[in-house]
């Protein structure tokens, strides 16, 4: 049992490390872009610090999101929760809201398209069937 726990612990730890590594890599890429843009260099320690902070902040965000969802008596995290989380920074909030609307619209469109498509398919199939019948009749 204890071994299992230890193994699990190890697993979790390694998983965490992998995540951290991923974050670090992403942060590095972003920093490179910014460096090219602003023509300023980033030291390795700076990138490491930023990635560490980002990781911890992500943990916080996750906990907060869960709290918000629970506060609204939901079990799924919603865009509303995300918006509540991002309300502090105005620009970020605006950005998120826009994105949200975009996505919502996209979803709507897709839904409409899907519906239309399925109707067309139905029509086609019936036409084909009729055509087939007609042909056969003929």
């Amino acid at each position: 049992m204890e071994e299992d726990d230890g193994a699990e612990e190890q697993q979790r730890f390694s998983y965490r490390q992998r995540l951290k590594a991923a974050v670090h890599y992403t942060v590095g890429c972003l920093c490179e872009e910014v460096a090219l843009d602003k023509e300023i260099q980033f030291s390795k320690q700076a990138i490491a610090a930023i990635s560490e902070v980002t990781f911890r902040q992500c943990e916080n965000f996750a906990k907060d999101l869960e709290m918000f969802a629970r506060h609204a008596k939901r079990s799924t995290i919603n865009t509303e929760d995300v918006k509540l989380l991002a309300r502090r920074s105005n620009s970020l909030l605006k950005y998120i809201t826009e994105k949200n609307e975009e996505i919502a619209q996209f979803n709507l469109e897709r839904k409409a398209k899907k519906k239309k498509k399925s109707e067309d398919e139905n029509k086609n199939s019936t036409e084909q069937a009729e055509a087939g019948v007609v042909e056969s009749e003929n």
């Binding site: 709290m67 506060h71 609204a72 509540l84």
Partner: protein, 564 residues
């Protein structure tokens, strides 16, 4: 003080007893403290001795002997609330609990006879005005004494049980028991409560029932009187304190300040306040008297008020105030009372306000210093005219106190008012209007002169309190600009806090801010964590009353659902 001799010029019980005790023979190795007890008893007996007529020396001697046996008997008895079973305490208990119409000697704790002197049916000039004992005849006890002395130690237990029987039966002192050298004499002769002095007491003297009487070299009667006056003063919100304050000097200027402080205690519950106040007044009273002989009245009154205020404020400081807080208080009082400046007055109000709302984290030290300041300024207030003080201070403090007082009933609805102590002072500053309105209606008779500033900008006054508190804790002089910046930051902070609360409520599809929203806020602030739950914080920082309001398992009343 008791040693200074009773006012009676004639040889009283006390003096005789003292003489006897001084020359008493150490016949009770088991009661080394009899001598001490005797000395203490002498102190206590000062008031009682006044009741007594002059006694003979023999009587006193007999009494001293009885005292020793009393001591033994007392030692046997296990009365929990008596911190020390001494003849003195026993006698005191008897005095307190003896029924009015009994002919029993109040002093005859163990013996029926102790002080023949005690028996004065009518003389009740005891300084303890609260006690109403009618002293029984002197004769019977006298003869009993030698008889009772005869039995040795082995009879003590028997005596006690018999005694208690007698107490239960409530037998009046009778002649036949006299002849009995046995314990039975005690029973029949005595009608004293030995075991439970507090029970009957509570019926007659509710004000004293709650606390076990303290033994101290203080004029107990005066103290009790003072205590009752204080508790009386607390109950009626609109009564002027001057009428009931023990050392009060009827100053006109004091009444407004009195009004200031009174409504606060009255609102949040006279009982709790009374209890706490009595406790604190008791502890602080004598000290005050010792420290500030110059202004005993004001300080005492101030202390009572402030104690009441402190008690009523849902603040950690009030809960842990106890003795610790009193010490700094004394120094503060001594120093502050001298100043009597408007500044100190405003500071006191600031402190009260701040104390009321509670500030973040530094509850305990804050409480002490706050009360210190408040005390000092209270002393100053009483002798000064409150109008002189800045108008906004009394106004804001008034606002704060009513806010707090009202928050108790409205607590569950508007938790934001209280916040929770650990949370940084919540939206109180920003939402003072709502809780204030019902209260201001309740307190119209208060003679106030609200300054124009306060009326115009209630928010600003609240913030200025916090700024002043800030400057106090900075322990160094602060520039005005710095204070203004602090105010600005506080303003933004509170605004933000309230916005968050509003958003949380909206997020849950509600229009009212509820305690859940506050809990969420505290979680975001990091005060409530997975290790530290909200209830833990409530228990840690809020006074005990709020625990029952806030913690479900506390107010559920141990009812299990579904019933099993």
């Amino acid at each position: 003080m008791a040693d200074s001799g009773s006012p009676d010029s004639e040889p009283t019980t006390r003096t005789l007893l003292r003489r006897v005790l001084d020359t008493a023979d150490p016949s009770t190795p088991r009661r080394p403290r009899s001598a001490r007890a005797g000395a203490q008893r002498a102190l206590l007996e000062t008031p009682s001795s006044r009741r007594l007529s002059s006694q003979t020396k023999t009587t006193a001697r007999r009494r001293s002997q009885r005292i020793r046996s009393i001591g033994k008997l007392a030692h046997v008895q296990a009365s929990g609330y008596l911190e020390e079973q001494t003849p003195r305490t026993l006698l005191k208990n008897i005095l307190l609990t003896a029924p009015e119409s009994s002919i029993v000697m109040p002093k005859s704790v163990v013996k029926p006879g102790p002080a023949p002197q005690v028996v004065q049916p009518s003389s009740r000039e005891s300084s303890r005005g609260s006690l109403e004992l009618q002293l029984p005849e002197l004769e019977p006890p006298t003869t009993l004494a030698p008889g009772l002395l005869a039995p040795g130690r082995r009879k003590q237990r028997l005596r006690l049980s018999v005694f208690q029987e007698g107490m239960d039966k409530g037998l009046p002192l009778s002649q036949e028991s006299r002849g009995n050298a046995d314990a039975s004499s005690l029973t029949s002769s005595l009608n004293l409560t030995f075991a439970t002095p507090l029970q009957p007491q509570s019926v007659q003297r509710p004000g004293l029932a709650r606390r076990p009487p303290t033994r101290r070299a203080v004029d107990v009667g005066a103290f009790l009187q003072d205590l009752r006056d204080t508790s009386l003063a607390l109950a009626p919100p609109d009564t002027v304190l001057e009428d009931t304050q023990p050392f009060s000097q009827p100053l006109v200027g004091r009444s407004p300040s009195v009004h200031h402080s009174l409504p606060c205690p009255s609102h949040s519950g006279a009982e709790d306040a009374e209890r706490a106040v009595s406790h604190r007044t008791r502890s602080t009273g004598p000290r005050l008297q010792n420290n500030s002989p110059g202004k005993p009245a004001q300080l005492l009154a101030g202390k009572a008020e402030v104690d009441a205020l402190a008690m009523n404020f849902p603040n950690t400081s009030s809960s842990i105030f106890g003795e610790v807080g009193v010490e700094p208080l004394q120094d503060g009082v001594g120093g502050e009372a001298e100043e009597r400046t408007e500044k100190s007055l405003s500071m006191s109000k600031v402190k009260e306000a701040a104390r009321a709302r509670g500030s973040a984290r530094a509850q305990e030290p804050e409480g002490h210093t706050q009360v210190t300041e408040a005390e000092g300024s209270q002393g100053a207030i009483e002798t000064k005219e409150p109008e002189g003080s800045s108008g906004d201070c009394p106004t804001s403090s008034r606002r704060v106190s009513p806010e707090l007082a009202s928050s108790t009933p409205e607590f569950l609805q508007a938790k934001r008012i209280q916040g929770l102590e650990p949370a940084p002072p919540p939206s109180t500053a920003v939402l003072p209007s709502e809780p204030l309105e019902p209260l201001s209606a309740r307190l119209p008779p208060r003679a106030r002169t609200p300054g124009p500033k306060a009326c115009q900008n209630p928010y600003k006054t609240g913030l200025s309190h916090y700024a002043k508190l800030f400057s106090f804790y900075a322990k160094m002089p602060m520039e005005k600009k710095a204070l203004e910046m602090v105010e600005k930051c506080l303003d933004k902070y509170f605004q933000h806090l309230c916005d968050d609360l509003e958003m949380f409520a909206a997020h849950a599809g509600r229009k009212t801010v509820r305690p859940e929203d506050l809990e969420l806020l505290m979680r975001r602030q990091g005060l409530v964590t997975d290790q530290v739950s909200l209830h833990v914080l409530v228990e840690r920082h809020l006074p005990l009353e709020y625990r029952q309001l806030l913690i479900p398992c506390a107010f559920s009343g141990n009812s299990v659902f579904p019933a099993q």
